[in-house]
Point group: C2
Chain length 91, copies 2
Amino acid sequence: MLVLVVYDIPDDRRRLKLSTCLEGYGRRVQKSVFECFLSLEEMQKLHQKLQRLVKPTEDNIRLYWISENAFSKTLTIGSEFPQPPPSFYII
Amino acid sequence: MLVLVVYDIPDDRRRLKLSTCLEGYGRRVQKSVFECFLSLEEMQKLHQKLQRLVKPTEDNIRLYWISENAFSKTLTIGSEFPQPPPSFYII
């Protein structure tokens, strides 16, 4: 269902590379938070892909799985509820 | 189970107020990401409390519910798996 990707990456070049990659998977909802509507298998593949883009000794990335019934429990302040992306996302 | 709080708050004072508040609920895992082990009811109360601390026109806060079986699907790079906090957290 929904995969949340949150990251702290000090290096500008690597951070840009990561966000550019993530834009092909979902929607940026905060500076370093993306919402990606993926299957579990796609989440695991994305995790492997991101591992090749960053330096684990310096960068911190976390991917969380949000199941269908948990999705509706999302609460926001100052931004809208998570929106499934248009279907054109090519995975 | 696990409540993820992610935020973008440009104002330093408000951001500090928020993170100080969140430290009483869980653990900071990235600059503006907290993991809080709470019930659904506590999540809703926290959401109301945070609404009183920030400006929705300028600030962006999102709270996600991560159920028990989704929790084990979390994937990380450069940081450890989510850790339930020590039981002394007073809610």
